[in-house]
């Protein structure tokens, strides 16, 4: 044990110094302020951790710096909001999205068909591009004809802001249903499926020469068939599902919204990795440019669909109680009245923001930790971080694990967005700040270290919150009468300062390994 202590003496020393600073900072405040500040620090730390953890997993195994992580966090928030506030839109979108997914999930079938067709390489390339482009154009045409009930950015009474407000007031009125007017439902569904199948087949045709033909198993068609059935089911029972979701308690709706967000994040991650990142392995500069560009595109798309102004995600019922016993002073009152706030050591603490978010953060930390340490996938990830070639030489398909890890990382970021939005509100730029925090947290904790991501995120969260609090109450500078109030601009600066100091002493971060 002594040796591990000695090996990490510097890191332990730095941690002690940081802890001492935080204790000194806490002593300058009233107990009430300390409780709130520390809990908020944990809260911000948790959200930062969700983005940073995904970032660290992806970077550790794939060597890809995913700068789109902040935008994906933001997209997660908007997707979750849509499911929560406008379930009708979500149900409308479900069918076309699932149909497109089905078409691409049939990849094995397309590959097989593509393999059966013999033709010249040049012709094959040409036809594949024609199919992909043609399929895409057709898909676009059918999608614009497909009825999706949506908010209206140009009409304030129909805007996301108004819907958020109404949901917040408990006015959950089902908006007018969008109906098939231009084309019949059957043609629309078939059209979307066939056109996306054309694109998928074009893609398979293009990649045909690289992959060996593998045996097709009917079991591989079960997943696409299920997807297709769910899509048809959602189309037929669109109205009842919508009505059911509107009648649902907001607690369950919140769970569904978060679940859909995570799935969307995982799907987006898998899509990005397989189509965009994969051709760019071993070209780090291009990856940086690509992920940075993707982030910007994400922000623009969100601005176009959901609008620029900020709006809120109303909290679920469980965290909204304001009955007689609120703010709760003990756990029993809290649970019975579902209070929105609770008194802890004289400080009034918001239950969702300052207790629920940190608890979820810790749960995710534990779950991912167990996944890494106990599961076969986790074992492969840990081994792959060190030596990808050797893992492949053991007969393990590392590429598939890459896709999985990228999908998981993006899923975590999207989850973070959905978790934070009811507390922070939604703006298209909400991811930018968080990406910076997450990067700093990783630099402080150690880039590829998973516990480092947690520790760094916590430190960044705490320091930010202490700075914000001191911005309100001011620091009396010793030997003078001056009270120094850190301006809001100093909040991100303080975390950068932390990073600089830590990196000067420990170039690999607190828990990072020496390379």
């Amino acid at each position: 044990m002594k040796t591990t202590l000695q090996k990490n003496s510097k890191a332990i020393l730095v941690l002690i110094v940081i802890a001492a600073f935080l204790v000194i900072a806490a002593r300058g405040m009233s107990g009430r302020d300390v409780v709130i500040t520390v809990l908020r620090g944990f809260s911000v730390g948790s959200v930062t951790f969700l983005v940073a953890a995904g970032f660290s997993l992806i970077f550790g195994l794939l060597d890809v710096l995913n700068l789109a992580q902040g935008a994906l966090y933001m997209i997660g928030a908007y997707v979750g909001w849509t499911v929560y506030v406008r379930p009708d839109t979500f149900v409308d979108v479900l069918t076309p999205v699932l149909l497109i997914l089905t078409a691409f999930a049939l990849n094995i079938l397309w590959k097989h068909l593509a393999g059966a067709i013999k033709m010249q390489a040049k012709l094959r390339k040409l036809i594949s591009w024609v199919l992909m482009a043609g399929g895409f154009v057709l898909l676009w045409i059918f999608l614009t004809k497909y009825p999706i009930s949506l908010w209206d950015l140009n009409n304030y009474s129909q805007s996301p802001i108004t819907y958020s407000y109404m949901a917040d007031q408990g006015l959950r009125i089902v908006p007018a249903e969008a109906t098939f007017e231009v084309i019949s439902p059957i043609i629309a569904i078939l059209g979307i499926f066939v056109s996306s199948s054309l694109s998928a087949f074009g893609l398979a045709l293009r990649n045909r020469e690289e992959t060996q033909l593998r045996k097709m198993n009917w079991r591989q068609l079960i997943a696409p068939a299920l997807l297709f059935l769910v899509a048809i089911f959602a189309a037929i029972f669109n109205a009842p599902i919508t009505a059911w979701m509107y009648a649902l308690s907001t607690n369950w709706l919140f769970v569904i919204a978060v679940g859909v967000t995570i799935l969307t994040g995982v799907g987006l991650g898998a899509l990005i990795e397989t189509t965009l990142i994969r051709p760019l392995y071993n070209r780090p500069i291009y990856q940086l440019m690509l992920t940075l560009g993707l982030g910007t595109i994400g922000v623009q798309i969100v601005q176009a669909v959901w609008g620029r102004p900020e709006f809120v995600w109303p909290k679920p019922e469980l965290f909204r109680g304001t009955g007689g016993a609120c703010p709760a002073t003990n756990l029993a009152d809290l649970i019975e009245n579902q209070c929105s706030t609770i008194m802890i050591l004289g400080g009034r603490v918001r239950v969702y923001d300052e207790i629920f978010i940190p608890v979820v953060g810790i749960i995710v930390l534990v779950v991912v930790w167990i996944l890494l340490k106990r599961s076969r996938i986790g074992m492969i990830i840990r081994a792959g971080v060190q030596d990808r070639q050797m893992v492949e030489a053991l007969g393990i398909n590392v590429r598939r694990v890459f896709t999985l890890v990228f999908a998981l990382g993006v899923g975590l970021a999207a989850f973070g967005g959905a978790l934070a939005a009811p507390s922070s509100g939604l703006t298209p730029t909400m991811g930018d700040r968080l990406l910076l925090s997450a990067l700093i947290a990783l630099a402080v904790g150690g880039l590829t270290s998973f516990p480092g991501a947690a520790l760094g995120s916590l430190l960044v969260g705490l320091i930010q919150q202490f700075m914000i609090k001191y911005g309100q109450i001011g620091i009396p500078l010793p030997f003078t009468d001056v009270v120094f109030k850190p301006s809001p601009a100093l909040v991100p600066a303080s975390t950068v300062l932390l990073m600089v100091v830590v990196l000067l002493i420990l170039p690999n971060g607190l828990l990072g390994k020496k390379e």
Partner: protein, 234 residues
């Protein structure tokens, strides 16, 4: 088919460098074949080319009657090839047990082979819960070989097993590899000619990316001139 592996006139590149320029040999089933040659001649690249870790641009690699060049490395390995790389490549964040477990291609393989592996390498049993890198060099080499034995591999590619090991441990290693060859075919890259000549039945000499001589080890041992010419003083 008497040959488990046929390497037919392969050319391999690492980036733009033309490393293998016509390597051609066959490996009879159940034999030990030693790849010999000076440093940088292309022995390791030959092993990596068989596994697809280095891409083969020309020529064929036929394993068990199947052409494997151009396949993904994991697909080739899964056909039944075990790889023990130079410098062992033990996973440092994994325990000894996990280092073995990760090599399973089917669930429960490690449990089936546990006894066999621990008979060969009693040391590993004692250190099962240590981290891979807490082992000594010799034990790491044992672990690297054991890892290649977990799955059902008919061909083992072993790169420089004696490198950096004490003579006593090398003796042990020779013994182990000799036992292994009763069950699977072995291709051995070995700088130490004494080790190679004790173990191998066949040899392939690689010089500047070309296979220049192949044959029976006992003929090579008798031909001092050839040893002198390709391998320096022996």
């Amino acid at each position: 088919m008497n040959n488990i592996l046929e390497v037919q006139n392969i050319h391999s590149f690492i980036n733009q460098y033309h490393i293998l320029q016509n390597v051609d040999f066959v490996v009879p089933r159940g034999s030990i074949t030693a790849l010999l040659g000076r440093n940088g001649a292309g022995k390791t690249t030959t092993l990596k080319s068989i596994l697809g870790l280095t891409s083969v641009r020309q020529g064929k690699v036929v394993f068990d009657g199947q052409e494997v060049q151009g396949m993904q490395p994991f697909e080739i390995a899964a056909l039944g090839i075990g790889f023990v790389p130079e410098h062992r490549a033990i996973f440092r964040d994994l325990s000894v047990e996990e280092n073995l477990k990760i090599a399973e291609r089917n669930k429960g393989e490690l449990d089936e082979k546990r006894e066999f592996i621990f008979n060969l390498f009693p040391d590993l049993k004692r250190f099962l819960h240590l981290r891979g890198t807490e082992l000594s060099g010799g034990q790491q080499q044992m672990l690297a070989i054991a890892r290649a034995l977990v799955a059902d591999n008919h061909l083992l590619l072993i790169d420089e097993p004696s490198e950096g090991l004490a003579p006593v441990i090398i003796e042990n290693m020779i013994d182990v590899i000799g036992q292994l060859s009763k069950q699977s075919t072995v291709i051995l890259v070995e700088q130490n000619f004494l080790v190679a000549s004790k173990l191998a039945e066949y040899f392939v000499i690689i010089e500047e990316g070309k296979s220049v001589e192949t044959g029976l080890m006992k003929d090579l041992e008798a031909d001092k001139a050839m040893i002198q010419r390709y391998l320096g003083a022996a």
